[in-house]
């Protein structure tokens, strides 16, 4: 039984990062009807920024007290989020804005070009092999009612949860969040209400990119590595989470992300680790056949 709960906890942790990246996809799709293929690469950029900052500062987590370690983590996170935010804003202005609103494949392909640039850029600068990121949070293992959780795992989940809560608050309780929801539903009408739709677009991509960057930092520090192609499979799975959950409620995307993490953990632990990556696709196929608009409904595409 303990083994089972342990798997669940591991799964939740990965699932929370799937959810964060999936939320970014979902935001951009529901607000702008754009599939941003460069989003997983923004996630990768976040991890590399963490690498640069941590190795640049030349500080090793093991020697730090808890408070200093957390402070360092926040700094790394902050820098990465700023960097990925900027990348997102540039991406929106140069690539997404000219191509959105037209055929659905056009921004898809334009952003795929950007993803090629980012992947190869990372290879060029850092080499094709994964780079090692030293730990920031000193390695402690907590035992919570029989289940083992490392401090970095805890940090990852906390970060993800904070981000998701912040997003939820933004969407439901702020003026611009309301405007974002309005634009997602009826952009013309929102514009006629005084909403600068271009600004909402920038905001949306910026927020999504910042979130992806944070997820990249978390995962990079969790596994102590960053690699140029780390975004590919992870991004695809997150994208599938968005598809399965539908676009109507962000809570749905959060739930599906966690669910995917959970199911993957169970499959890995109890069936076969080879099939782990198949879980997402099986889920997608099942949902596509029975509820094509996603489990919880979608806006008209």
């Amino acid at each position: 039984m303990e083994q089972f709960v342990q798997q669940l906890v591991n799964g939740l942790m990965i699932g929370s990062t799937y959810a964060v990246v999936a939320l970014g996809f979902g935001l951009m799709f529901s607000v702008m009807r754009v599939v941003n293929l460069a989003h997983p690469e923004v996630f990768m950029v976040g991890a590399y920024v963490a690498f640069v900052v941590v190795t640049g500062l030349n500080v090793h987590g093991q020697g730090l007290g808890m408070l200093a370690a957390v402070g360092l983590f926040v700094v790394v996170l902050g820098v990465a989020m700023v960097a990925t935010g900027v990348v997102g804003l540039i991406l929106e202005r140069l690539v997404i804005r000219p191509t959105r609103g037209t055929y659905i494949l056009t921004p898809f392909i334009a952003t795929s070009g950007v993803s090629i640039v980012l992947q190869n850029g990372a290879q060029r600068i850092f080499g094709p092999d994964p780079v090692r990121i030293p730990s920031v949070i000193p390695a402690h293992t907590f035992a919570i009612s029989g289940v083992l959780v490392t401090s970095m795992q805890l940090t990852t989940v906390l970060t993800a949860v904070v981000i998701m809560l912040a997003l939820r608050y933004y969407v439901h309780h702020t003026r611009w969040g309301r405007a974002t929801r309005a634009v997602a539903e009826k952009p013309d009408v929102a514009a006629a209400c005084g909403v600068n739709v271009n600004l909402v677009s920038q905001l949306t991509v910026g927020i999504a990119s910042v979130m992806a960057g944070a997820a990249g930092v978390a995962l990079g520090l969790l596994y102590n590595s960053a690699a140029p192609f780390m975004g590919l499979l992870f991004g695809l799975k997150s994208f599938i989470c968005m598809l399965v959950a539908g676009n109507r409620h962000i809570e749905a995307i959060m739930a599906v992300g966690l669910l995917l993490g959970l199911v993957e953990a169970i499959v890995t632990g109890y069936i076969s680790s080879n099939l782990r990556d198949a879980v997402a696709f099986a889920l997608l196929l099942a949902v596509l056949f029975f509820r094509p608009q996603g489990l919880f409904g979608s806006y008209d595409v």
Partner: protein, 237 residues
């Protein structure tokens, strides 16, 4: 009486289709003017062009001495024009309250917003009771009230109404047009596109006849009501 809105030589095309061909119209301050025409005549296109949702291929639109035909919709809204779209188009995933707040997003006379909201709630009591409900659950008539209330939230000088009576029960239509009179009484000028010529002519001061993208006639409402042509084509003899 000063002219609030001036449209001159408006041309709107969608690809190869010319929807609006050389339309001139104006709206003096304080008046209600109607654009009458059948489905597809181009009424909506004119309204959308004024709102900035469509860039006209030619012509000019001036509002209170400002050229607006090159402006994006949110800028047009901030100048004091509000839009009640065809088919209500309320935000169904937002609550009634949130819909009203969206109307005020442009920030005109922001300090008075709470007062304005109360006034609108008084005007439409049904909205008050359904404040926290999702707008998608309202009936057609209620949604139209919400759409109008939302437009009024921006404290506009000019209200653009696109087919306000479409799809509404006759009783509701009566109430609607009484409402329109009351809005004008509060100093808001109204330009409406309407298929329901009978009702429109009762409330408007002046009407234009639009056929296949061109203005084919226009005059004070009483004249239009009496005219042979209008009776035959729009009022069923």
């Amino acid at each position: 009486m000063s002219v609030l809105l001036q449209v001159a030589g408006l041309e709107v095309t969608y690809g190869p289709v010319r929807a609006v061909k050389g339309v001139d119209l104006e709206l003096p301050k304080g008046e209600i003017r109607a654009i009458l025409g059948a489905n597809g005549a181009g009424k909506s296109s004119i309204i959308r062009a004024i709102m900035g949702l469509v860039k006209p291929r030619g012509g000019t639109i001036t509002f209170a001495n400002t050229t607006i035909h090159r402006l994006p919709p949110h800028a047009v809204n901030r100048l004091g024009i509000a839009w009640v779209p065809e088919g209500r188009q309320i935000f169904s995933t937002l609550t009634v309250q949130e819909n009203l707040l969206m109307g005020a997003f442009g920030g005109r006379q922001a300090e008075e917003r709470p007062v304005r909201q109360e006034q609108i709630m008084e005007m439409f009591p049904i909205l008050k009771t359904r404040r926290e409900q999702f707008a998608g659950s309202l009936s057609g008539g209620e949604q139209q009230m919400l759409a109008i209330g939302r437009a009024l939230m921006s404290s506009p000088e000019l209200l653009l109404m696109d087919e306000p009576s479409l799809g509404l029960a006759p009783k509701v239509v009566q109430y609607l047009f009484a409402l329109i009179r009351e809005i004008r009484a509060r100093g808001i000028s109204i330009l409406m596109a309407e298929q329901n010529a009978r009702q429109a002519l009762r409330v408007a001061d002046y009407a234009y006849l639009l056929e296949v993208g061109e203005i084919r006639g226009g005059g004070p409402a009483s004249e239009m009501e009496a005219s042979e042509q209008v009776r035959r084509v729009y009022l069923g003899g």
